[in-house]
Symmetry: D2
Subunit: 481 residues, 4 copies
Amino acid sequence: MALKTAEEYKESLRQMRLNIHKFGELIEDVTSHPATKNTVEGHASLFRAQHDEKLKDIVTTTSHLTGEPISRYLSVIRSADEMIANCRMKRFAFNLTGTCTGGRCVGWTSLNSMFITTYDCDRELGTDYHSRLLEWLRDAQARDISIAGALTDPKGDRTKKPSQQEDPDMNLHIVEKRDDGIVVRGAKVMICGVAAANEIFILPGSAYGEEDKDYAVSFVIPRDAENITIVDGREGKEGFDIPNTCGGITQAYLFFEDVFIPKERVFMCGEYQFTRSAVFNFIAAYRSGIGGCVAGQGDIKVGAAVLTARANGLSARVFRDKLIRMYINNETTFGMGIAASAMGKKHASGAWQPDMLLANVNKVHVATLPYDTSRLAQDIGGGIAETGCMPSSEDFTSGKYGHLIKKYMKAAVSGEARARAARLVEWTTIGAGVPGCMHGGGSPDGAKLMINALSGLEEKVGAARRLAGITEDIPEPQRKR
Amino acid sequence: MALKTAEEYKESLRQMRLNIHKFGELIEDVTSHPATKNTVEGHASLFRAQHDEKLKDIVTTTSHLTGEPISRYLSVIRSADEMIANCRMKRFAFNLTGTCTGGRCVGWTSLNSMFITTYDCDRELGTDYHSRLLEWLRDAQARDISIAGALTDPKGDRTKKPSQQEDPDMNLHIVEKRDDGIVVRGAKVMICGVAAANEIFILPGSAYGEEDKDYAVSFVIPRDAENITIVDGREGKEGFDIPNTCGGITQAYLFFEDVFIPKERVFMCGEYQFTRSAVFNFIAAYRSGIGGCVAGQGDIKVGAAVLTARANGLSARVFRDKLIRMYINNETTFGMGIAASAMGKKHASGAWQPDMLLANVNKVHVATLPYDTSRLAQDIGGGIAETGCMPSSEDFTSGKYGHLIKKYMKAAVSGEARARAARLVEWTTIGAGVPGCMHGGGSPDGAKLMINALSGLEEKVGAARRLAGITEDIPEPQRKR
Amino acid sequence: MALKTAEEYKESLRQMRLNIHKFGELIEDVTSHPATKNTVEGHASLFRAQHDEKLKDIVTTTSHLTGEPISRYLSVIRSADEMIANCRMKRFAFNLTGTCTGGRCVGWTSLNSMFITTYDCDRELGTDYHSRLLEWLRDAQARDISIAGALTDPKGDRTKKPSQQEDPDMNLHIVEKRDDGIVVRGAKVMICGVAAANEIFILPGSAYGEEDKDYAVSFVIPRDAENITIVDGREGKEGFDIPNTCGGITQAYLFFEDVFIPKERVFMCGEYQFTRSAVFNFIAAYRSGIGGCVAGQGDIKVGAAVLTARANGLSARVFRDKLIRMYINNETTFGMGIAASAMGKKHASGAWQPDMLLANVNKVHVATLPYDTSRLAQDIGGGIAETGCMPSSEDFTSGKYGHLIKKYMKAAVSGEARARAARLVEWTTIGAGVPGCMHGGGSPDGAKLMINALSGLEEKVGAARRLAGITEDIPEPQRKR
Amino acid sequence: MALKTAEEYKESLRQMRLNIHKFGELIEDVTSHPATKNTVEGHASLFRAQHDEKLKDIVTTTSHLTGEPISRYLSVIRSADEMIANCRMKRFAFNLTGTCTGGRCVGWTSLNSMFITTYDCDRELGTDYHSRLLEWLRDAQARDISIAGALTDPKGDRTKKPSQQEDPDMNLHIVEKRDDGIVVRGAKVMICGVAAANEIFILPGSAYGEEDKDYAVSFVIPRDAENITIVDGREGKEGFDIPNTCGGITQAYLFFEDVFIPKERVFMCGEYQFTRSAVFNFIAAYRSGIGGCVAGQGDIKVGAAVLTARANGLSARVFRDKLIRMYINNETTFGMGIAASAMGKKHASGAWQPDMLLANVNKVHVATLPYDTSRLAQDIGGGIAETGCMPSSEDFTSGKYGHLIKKYMKAAVSGEARARAARLVEWTTIGAGVPGCMHGGGSPDGAKLMINALSGLEEKVGAARRLAGITEDIPEPQRKR
């Protein structure tokens, strides 16, 4: 089947069962509801790019399964070059939509992680998950669907394991195994882009031991499957106070109240030994690619800040040092993702595994540098952009004092253009357009632990000892009693 | 007259003419409207503190004019100790209300600035502004009013002076001088706490030359004076998505459409030579005191972050290094304000002038460190606190799925308590509770220029030359042609 | 007796027993040996300042014991103003000498610490240390001596307490108590300014428990007392490769091989309960005052960097942003010391105790910001200043190629002036003139632990809970088992 | 001819004419003189690695000219993989020698730059430089020589161009063109590794215009050619105060007093149009590869810091957060170099050109992060490592007090082992082992200007304008008059 058009994609969303709620209400049409339409629009523009001569190489590739042109978001990454293309596409997508198109990326990373994990699992345990995954993927490529991904469980009491929780549902788990599939219960929370997704790819939320084997579960499911209830967060609003209509973020709580998953869509079912692999393979790719996202978001911050400065009547030259700092921040997260991609290695399954150490170093940058970039954007944008403390779009049209607002908001350009520019700074730095750089894809503290584990400390100590000409042994001291 | 109670204060606001608008509508009662009531409540709590045995020494002092007890916000600061008390009160006020009570601080700083400026102006030009100011102040102390302050003009085209603007109203200016007063036109923008203020103290927005003498104007005016129209920004919302009801921020655009100011309330009227003094004296006190504000806000970020971590089931011990960094940030802005206060000097008028160099160094910290503190608060608070990507308060009460939200939001505490804690992190780090640290009281770039001017560079170069044993002259090179 | 002149001071050093060694040799005259003469010269300039009309108020004050003029370094600090004067004098001293005059500051801080500690000890345990201290101090003021201070013990195995060490001498301790005094054995290491000191004030190196009571010892002793052997570190060199001859640093190892201390010079002898007080009172004053030192050193870095830039032919204007960052770093450590001083409180003994929280925050800045200032100095100074990779002063005078060096080193000024400027950058940023900001006065990690202890975390959490409208209890979680 | 052994390499240095001076004296043998032997030893170990089965793939490759095995330092980099191998080799070389082996890297980068530049020059101007370069390179590969590179001119008055200088020799220039070659006069300064080099590759020091065409000169010359006089900087010293004998840094001033360069060794002679290309192609490769150097140096800092901590009796676990920060710094400069390599492109000549934007971003990191890493190493190493303030190696052997030093320096290990570890921290953070990260390969300010030029600002502004829904034009404001 051909690559979908933007309109076909939107139509596919309209055909789905209604199960997304917002502010206590059921959303009737995700493609037009204020809370979800920007997000859908952002995803649609990626489908549109598939048919644009200048853009299609960025967003499509060739299926290694069928040789057909497919969306990159449905491809298996098999080389450094393809992983680099991943980073580049993510940066492009942010520039195109202004924000995260999480209804595609996380699903993609999940399927790549399980591509490797199922391969290893089958080889070791004699299961047949890998072929199930290939079967599903071939079909998904043919249907050109949009897939969100979900890892994060509610977790409940963080001091206890899943099976120790008072309420066993605090982590998504298998409640019944049947011949034709499984039944699961629980929730996945803070899941990005669900409103724009056709299906959801589920991964275990953490690495588990045997006692938690019912939580070792991975599958892919239509977003509108029976017994799934979704509540979306983040705010939507009409008017230009949210200036960007090219993209948006939704983040959802997904409740699974005894949901049936057919066997052919199940890729892990109790093999707790492979939960670590599922999570680690996800992390390696995710923490590399996210550098492109953050760089793309940073590109927009640069543009929005300069736009506002110029609207204020100030030249970009005044802010050269600050802009250079922003460029450095952007290129650093982008570059570290490229480096992790380039330094990766080929897995036996044929998939490419980015370098884990560099990917985790990048995660720490991703959780830090964008905050600095945001601060600089607000610095450049001036007081008007800092806290969004300006009249609303409704005030602009007031018959009583709208003319005063337009008069006094005017500077180098009209008051509305200036307000829109400032709102874009606000939206990208403290508003609804900010992706979750800090904890998305895991916390920076988790990344630091992995960096520590991968650091090769003892080799460095050995080299230092040799260089210092020390022959005596200098062991790690015993812990103080 | 006695110090007002919180209720008397609120009643005084209710007695005022209605002239504040929001989202295109006139606000009928600032003490109960969702957009303004939190702000009023925050200010009211300062009046309440005046009658609390344990708190009254923090918020009141003795009038040097009458010997009566008065609000510190209506006092003339006459010593290092009083300036230090200023810093402490500001930190206290943030802890009390969670945010800025700008309807008091800026007015206070303005009257202190003009106390010095009118004294110098009278001595040099033979005017009588200082006695007018004293007269008004005596009365203001007796009435125990709340005073906002306003400096920032719309400014229009930043490459041109006020008198060169196409539209002369881009900066507030005198349009008529009469025997009994003056008439002014223009606007002041992004003015904090106006909805909670009884009067507004106006300062010139910048230092002006003779060609702009009509813009050299300072006065104080009831907030509800004839021909003043106000439009407020920032969002208000019911439900616990904005969890703090102890305080809030409003920031307004004030339009002056030929407003008459009686002579006895005018403190500058064309004396452009003293605009620099008005602005500089404001800056010195403002940039010292704001260190206390930012530290107080930082205290709340610490508390909110730990509260959320504990609600997530995690111990504060895990985050010790991050918390220490937050403490350091908080104490640094607080401490630098104290230092600027302590290193100040006495002006001939009897007022205390904080050290300008240290005050400006603090401004740069104030524009930088809180961003780091916010990042750390989000780091500690976890994904739930990072982007506010959780169900709304409406969703909690949904008959259809409210029980699911409560079930899955629960961790160490109930879902609602956890959501409230996370919302407080959001509100203090990217939400409506964030004060304008970056550009409030002037931009950090402006502060840097003052630091540069006050740096004493040539003395340092001279000392280095002496220490290096260089006898040869090493002059500053000529500019390249 | 009158305040000493620089010459009288140097003569007093020459009269002392020779017991300082360097590179394996005994130093015959500390006032002329290359390894020590710069340090002595730096200290001498402080004596010279005592007789300079413009400077004497900076370095002298009035004895509260006798009413006579005395060196500030021999005074008891009794008010915020005197503590602020301390900070200012330290900044001045760095500007005067280019570096640390540790043969005075640490001794001063030690005597102030023990002034408080002996007072409390006497009140609680009925000892008579305070009067001994006063007696000695009165005499020390009369003799106008220079006093180094010593806390740091060799410590041996850091996982064990002093009394648990294999070798009991790893910390200085009492080996015999006699009627007329005590005998001590052990060492104090990395002690600053010993070569320039007449006496050494000894403090316990840490807070001890009862089992280590023999290590609870404080006294003051002539530097040349019998059985004290001293080995000095840091390098001295002739020629202008070390360009500054106005000051220098020595840092010594002091070995006590059964040294007798007369009773009247002993201020603690086994009262382990007061070791914590001795250390904490030292810390509070030291970590406040050191902000002035670091700022003074930073002033020189600014001057040296600009001097080198100008010698290279570049204007200071080019580096404005970097210079502003350097000013901010300098004023921050200075200002935080001022703040700690201003926020202190009066002790029952009459001494002033700076604020412990702010003092420790400053310690962290002192261990961080100067590194940034150094980096910027090297950035501004250019390649020539970065690594000192230029011909030596010997090469300048070579008959064979000295003319080539002079020819090619010349830029805006002569080659020698340029080399001297660059060497001053090197000396102040990576060379012998760098004081030990990181670990001097204790490590930054130790300071962080104190910040943590003094943070008032639970109050902040309580405030956040109130603001978030949470009624439920949110306790610190139990540790995971 | 075969790859040289370490001994053959050293012998080749001994065969050269003596023309290197230090502290006013001529160095008789660079392989044994204290000022140069460590540097030579470091370079020799790279020759040794050529014959080590486990290491040879790191340091050798196949000549694209002859198909023979050659040193990588003499290869033309023709692919991303080879450029990545460059980064890796540099990191390896730092781990092997503890410091910079500048007598190889800069020459290598220079020849690669001129490989591209001569190709373009020949194509445009019909010259024959490229074939001359190939001829020389083939021979250099066969001889397996070590080549330093030299760009930096003395420059004199920085406000003037080379031809405007009072003394025309302030930049190296052609004084005579002859049929068989050219004669040059001037100097190159701060040239790394000259004492360890057989030849020197000269590049123009900057991009020049037509008026400075005599300064547009590139060639390669034996280090001991007639009329070249060399003076080396940096200090050498016997004893373990400089603990590392596996490597060292020399940095030299090279004086050219009418040196004749045979025609076949001249690769640019007046073609000023290609000076920019020569410099830029150098920069792109140099600023990518240097990330590996800085990471390697950082590896040693990690090892040295932990070694010292353990020698002090402290566990590496205590410093985990600091170590992680050091790993992040190291991997960031390494990773950004990898990224610049991976994102490069193929030049028509067959050479690989790394990405200029990423390379320059890395240069800024290289000028910043190592300072942070050094600070952390000193933090971890403790007071003993901070300022090198400990007894010298001479003191350890003193008959009089050497036993005291050994006794009191002992902690978890012997005093000497502990001193060596601490000296290695000192040597790598403030001592002779610190490479010139700040200005080596050009200043960070220069890199920032290139980042600015390559930023694509207007595209970002355009994207922001589209996203903000602004149709109005928002041009860059005119400069204020």
